[in-house]
Symmetry: C2
Subunit: 206 residues, 2 copies
């Protein structure tokens, strides 16, 4: 399913499924759990999706497309590579904090463990999603390289650096939800602090 085609009911199922996958993990979430949380039954779910894995993949795709659409514009625009990198990092963090469940599913998807239990066609879908993910990572690699070219970013291996940055950004989904004390801190302030720590290491101090 491309997200453009998703019906209203499918989106409802994805939203609830994302929350449940975050709460208990993919395996421990039953189709009945998802149905119950919508106030429907199994049959409703199976009418809209072929299997639990399909729901997971749809959530993963939807999440990736949403964050990419939010962050991609910041790769362009004015300023040095470093400045744009910081804007991208912050936009990613704000999106993550406001769509925790989707990001948690992306995180689970990246871990690739489900891959082992997929059918051939589901695996093909996952490969497509991995491409989407690579494309997103490439957005960061590109801006890092532009920063090295304009002298704002110090010399470093762009691929490793991009993964380190994205890993640090995504890891926020682990503790952000677990710490209600932190959650009261305004999203924007918290995103700034984390973005500064993570992007600061890219700066050329020469």
């Amino acid at each position: 399913m491309t997200q453009r085609n998703a019906s209203e009911n499918q989106v409802k199922i994805m939203d609830v499924a994302a929350e449940e996958f975050m709460r208990a993990g993919f395996d421990a979430t039953s189709i009945d759990d998802i149905a119950r949380n919508i106030g429907q039954t199994k049959g409703f779910i199976y009418y809209h999706f072929r299997s639990k894995v399909e729901i997971f993949l749809a959530v993963y795709e939807r999440g990736m497309e949403m964050v990419r659409d939010d962050v991609a514009p910041w790769a362009g625009g004015t300023g040095t590579g470093l400045e744009r990198l910081r804007r991208m990092a912050k936009a990613h963090l704000v999106h993550l904090m406001e769509n925790l469940a989707y990001h948690d599913v992306i995180h689970q998807g990246i871990e690739q463990r489900l891959r082992l239990r997929m059918t051939e066609s589901q695996r093909a879908t996952l490969i497509g999603l991995n491409a989407l993910r690579d494309e997103y990572e490439a957005l960061f690699r590109g801006v890092i390289r532009e920063g090295m070219a304009d002298g704002s970013v110090r010399e470093l291996p762009a691929a490793v650096a991009a993964r380190t940055l994205l890993g640090g950004l995504n890891a926020v989904d682990i503790w952000y939800r677990n710490d209600s004390g932190q959650a009261t801190k305004p999203v924007d302030d918290l995103a700034s602090v984390v973005a500064d720590v993570l992007v600061g290491g890219f700066q050329d101090k020469g």
Copy 2:
């Protein structure tokens, strides 16, 4: 089980279980899978552990104790707070790369999803492990604060900064294993690059 008391067979089970948990995740790993990989049967496992959750918790504990024992010495010693923080980050990374499976289980444990399906006594064990984890995090917070005091680390909220750093360090376990091209790069070099990116953002540039 405290790790001091672990028998040879228990360690063998933990080592194999950690690999399987990494490969397929906790839920999708059966006791039979673990037994088969040791060349034994279910009965062998259940003689040494009461349940699958107990194995998971034991692996989590063992992993946390191992990394703490490796990293803690670097919190002390000579140099500024920033220099010591970098040594800790690098030691953490090297340990992670050389004990991927244990770190992957720690990562799963931190996500707290299993908590929902635990007995009271297992939950109590998990709370103890969370304390161990907090203690480890405090090691980083402490050195960050020392760095702010000696002027090597810029002013920032230590708690958020420590979590951001540790999140970035731990996220390496996601891609390190998935990229055989990177894995050929010497562990030490890769650890240096990642540590520099992550700790660089702490530096006081004033």
